[in-house]
């Protein structure tokens, strides 16, 4: 009962937050010191062309009316056209959102895969050199500017060693000679659906560097959280009892202690996902990854506001929904959360 009420409350709050976000994005749009009509009218418009654009975009309508139009557009997912390219934004999003989500999911997985085992190791060797090295590198991961890490990885793995691609999402050879049919938009899935192992391998290789860049910080956090959760549990009674019974140390770690590290893992999933969505702006530019981040950063330079608004809305909704799921999952794993 408590749980159901908690979930309901979280959902209502999330809906409210999304409404607030819409309002905030709209307000910011109003203070942009630029003329959308002249952007929409092309690179060298005449006064008449600008006037025509102003009418087409309803820029002279009263503020309230424009907010209503904006809110309706956001609610129906009809984001209109980009001022700059005049392409349908919804169509662009369909191509770019999966690319960003693929990166976010992959980097989250990578963060857990790196962070949790290292955390377990650090807890098992508490105070010894693996522990120290681990905690030092997790601090370094926090302090490392994403954009700088991306460049270093490119330099080492693409330029010097040359065994991973510099940038992009698929090799040109593949996308020209035998393009992947876009079904889900997730290249890894689409490659499997089409039974194309060559494309799968290629897409996978392209994912590694950007995902590694995005995973470094959450992996550090995952390591620290796992470590402290494990240490706490290892000191608990049933583990001590297991030890007394003569169970081997690895067995204790993986069968008794690790399941209790679920909570931290969930936290890290939420955090990593959010971090990937945010960091996409920086990482996608550097890796020429055709996702939302690159899309929005180009729009920012051009002050192409409908695009900026649409991406902000979509990313924020992804973020809010993700947080909602994490909160609910955490409440299910640990009912105390719902009561607090």
């Amino acid at each position: 009962m408590e749980l159901a009420r908690y979930i309901l409350r979280r959902m209502v709050l999330s809906a409210f937050v999304v409404l607030g976000v819409t309002f905030l994005v709209f307000i910011v749009a109003q203070v942009v010191p630029s003329d959308p009509a002249s952007l929409y009218a092309g690179p060298r418009p005449t006064a008449e062309q600008i006037e025509k654009a102003r009418q087409e975009l309803h820029l002279d309508a009263p503020l309230i009316e424009r907010f209503a139009g904006f809110a309706k557009a956001m609610a129906t997912g009809d984001f209109g056209v980009s001022y700059k390219s005049r392409r349908l934004i919804a169509e662009d999003l369909r191509a770019y959102l999966p690319a960003t989500l693929e990166l976010a999911v992959f980097s989250t997985g990578l963060a857990l895969l790196i962070g949790i085992p290292l955390g377990v190791l650090a807890a098992a060797r508490q105070g010894k050199w693996p522990d120290r090295l681990g905690s030092l590198s997790s601090i370094a991961a926090v302090a490392m500017p994403t954009f700088f890490l991306a460049m270093i990885l490119q330099l080492i793995f693409a330029q010097w060693l040359g065994f991973l691609p510099l940038s992009g999402r698929l090799s040109r050879e593949i996308s020209i000679t035998a393009p992947l049919q876009m079904v889900t938009g997730f290249n890894l899935f689409d490659a499997l659906l089409a039974g194309r192992l060559d494309a799968f391998g290629d897409a996978f290789r392209h994912l590694i560097l950007p995902a590694l860049t995005l995973a470094s910080y959450p992996a550090g956090v995952a390591m620290r959280l796992t470590r402290s959760a494990m240490i706490e549990i290892l000191e608990r009674r049933h583990v001590t009892a297991a030890r007394a019974l003569g169970l081997s140390e690895p067995r204790i770690l993986f069968s008794h202690a690790l399941p209790n590290a679920m909570g931290p893992a969930l936290t890290v999933i939420g955090l990593s996902f959010a971090y990937a969505l945010t960091g996409a702006v920086l990482v996608e530019i550097i890796f020429a990854w055709p996702g939302l981040g690159r899309y929005v950063s180009e729009a920012i330079l051009a002050k192409d506001f409908p695009v900026i608004a649409a991406v902000t809305m979509v990313v924020t909704i992804c973020y809010v929904v993700m947080n909602l799921f994490i909160d609910i999952a955490q409440a299910l794993v640990d009912p105390r959360v719902a009561l607090s």
């Binding site: 959308p36 952007l39 060298r44 040109r172 996308s175």
Partner: protein
């Protein structure tokens, strides 16, 4: 996996291997048939009526206009070449232009080129009124006395032969497409007469063009069958591609990296002047820039040579006024100032300008060259006691500020200009002719003598070009004398091509366009 799904997968696989084998075939022929361009930007609009951006690179291989402009070189004069029109003549008053069309030209849909098609194309372009459609502004009616003759009636004298050679909005397209909307073109359909047609278009990724059958023009031996425009925003990647032979052509490699590429025998670095000129318009409505001598002093303080060397690795050229070299009306002997800080200080002292003067220079955030120019100029002005604030802005915001109230606007407006069609008129009337409401004359310069000369020259552009040229040069000299602007430099066009490509020439009248039909390997 159910049966239907299985069949689908099988069909897809077959399709995939079919395209693979075609590609392999082309490869087997010694890579001879595909010309690959690593193009730095995407193509926002493929509609020949409204396109007014980098999409010209694609469209110029698909569509043709009535004429083509061939710029002047050191040995030859600029001229206008027949394209879809074979000849043309103009009436005494410059208001009636008659074009005779080439016989036997077919659009890609098989329909013949007729005067009706020309009329329909230009009328659609005018009616939509987007992009560069304004170049046809003076055309009041188009007549079609017979299938191969088009007559343009104008409201005022204009050089229609030049207008018809414009890089945008002058394309002729098939009648079957005249009722199509913008979206139809932007899904990758085309309706041109050119040597290539669009066979695949993936927005933001690539455009693939295949040779059109029954092209009317000459095709060189070993000409390319396919063009692939690969959109590569990352300059490092573009450089990798051209060095490894994955691409045959690229541009926008940082100037600093060109040295190494020049010494690479596989590559040819082609440097040409472009028609893009960089300048700063002085706000003549604001003190103390309303005084000629103060403006002259600022121009004397501009580090012309340093900007060319630091900003373009010495590849740019000194701007001789506003009309760049290669365009008729260019003034090679223009009395341009040289950097001279002492003379600048003397002029400032003469006008009683005290140290501590603060000026604001606006420029577009995307233009690194403007930032370099600004930073170097700022350092020079500092020695004269003038503080120059550099204000990068989004272009629309910069323009908006410039168009608002001149008294409250920037002091110096820095921008590039390139002509919509090749005429000095485009530069002079846009930037220095009096405007009631500022549009592109963002220094708000106004001089009746200059206005009269520009207007008179415009009238003569179609009928008496030498006389028009003389008037344009006179107007320009007055602008330089009045120091209405600081003419910073003419930007170089730098293209890198593989050295086994034959027949490459760069035509600055069509910026960043490669006419692939003329090339072979």
């Amino acid at each position: 996996m159910n049966r239907r799904h299985f069949l689908q997968t099988a069909a897809l696989a077959a399709l995939a291997s079919a395209t693979t084998s075609r590609w392999n075939l082309a490869m087997a022929e010694g890579n001879g048939s595909i010309f690959t361009l690593a193009y730095p930007t995407s193509f926002p609009d493929l509609d020949p009526a409204t396109s007014f951006s980098n999409d010209g690179a694609v469209l110029a291989n698909v569509y043709e206009g009535l004429t083509r402009y061939i710029p002047a070189t050191e040995t030859t004069e600029a001229k206008i070449e027949p394209l879809l029109a074979t000849s043309w003549d103009v009436s005494e008053d410059g208001k009636t232009w008659t074009f005779h069309l080439r016989d036997g030209v077919k659009f890609h849909d098989g329909s013949p080129l007729t005067s009706e098609a020309v009329k329909g194309s230009i009328e659609r372009t005018k009616k939509i009124g987007g992009g560069a459609a304004f170049i046809w502004g003076s055309v009041s009616s188009i007549e079609t006395p017979d299938p191969l003759t088009v007559v343009f009636k104008l409201s005022d004298p204009q050089p229609v032969d030049l207008i018809a050679s414009a890089g945008f909005a002058a394309w002729i397209y098939a009648p079957s497409s005249h009722d199509k909307d913008n979206a139809w073109f932007n899904t990758g359909n085309d309706a041109g007469t050119g040597p290539f047609r669009i066979s695949r278009y993936e927005p933001g990724q690539r455009a693939v063009l295949d040779r059109a059958e029954a092209y009317w023009g000459k095709v060189p031996e070993g000409g390319f069958q396919t063009i692939s425009f690969e959109i590569i925003e990352d300059t490092t990647l573009a450089q990798n591609m051209i060095e490894s032979g994955q691409a045959d052509w690229t541009e926008s490699i940082p100037f600093e990296n060109l040295e190494a590429m020049k010494s690479n025998p596989d590559l040819r670095v082609v440097v040409n002047p472009s028609f893009e000129t960089l300048f700063g318009l002085y706000n003549v409505k604001r003190a103390p820039l309303d005084k000629v001598k103060v403006r002259q002093a600022l121009s004397l303080a501009f580090p012309y040579d340093d900007v060319i060397s630091a900003g373009t690795m010495g590849l740019g050229t000194r701007a001789k006024g506003v009309v760049p070299a290669g365009i008729w009306g260019h003034d090679a002997e223009a009395p341009i100032p040289q950097t001279d800080l002492k003379a600048a200080a003397a002029l400032l002292a003469e006008e009683g300008v005290e140290p501590g003067l603060e000026l604001v220079m606006t420029y577009s955030t995307t233009q690194a060259l403007s930032a370099v120019a600004g930073e170097l100029w700022k350092a020079n002005l500092e020695t004269l006691g003038i503080k120059l604030t550099l204000q990068p802005m989004a272009w629309e915001a910069q323009w908006q500020l410039g168009k608002s109230n001149p008294e409250a606007a920037q002091d110096i407006f820095v921008m590039f200009w390139w002509p919509t069609f090749v005429t000095p008129y485009d530069y002079l009337v846009s930037l220095f002719h009096s405007e009631e409401k500022p549009n592109f004359n963002l220094g708000y310069y106004s001089d009746p003598e200059v206005d009269a000369k520009i207007d008179e020259a415009a009238k003569l552009s179609g009928t008496d070009r030498p006389r028009a040229e003389k008037l344009f040069i006179e107007a320009q000299r007055k602008v330089i004398e009045d120091a209405a602007a600081v003419f910073m430099l003419d930007r170089p066009n730098v293209h890198i091509i593989r050295s086994d490509i034959k027949g490459y020439t760069d035509n600055p009248a069509y910026g960043h366009v490669t006419f692939v039909n003329e090339l072979s390997r």
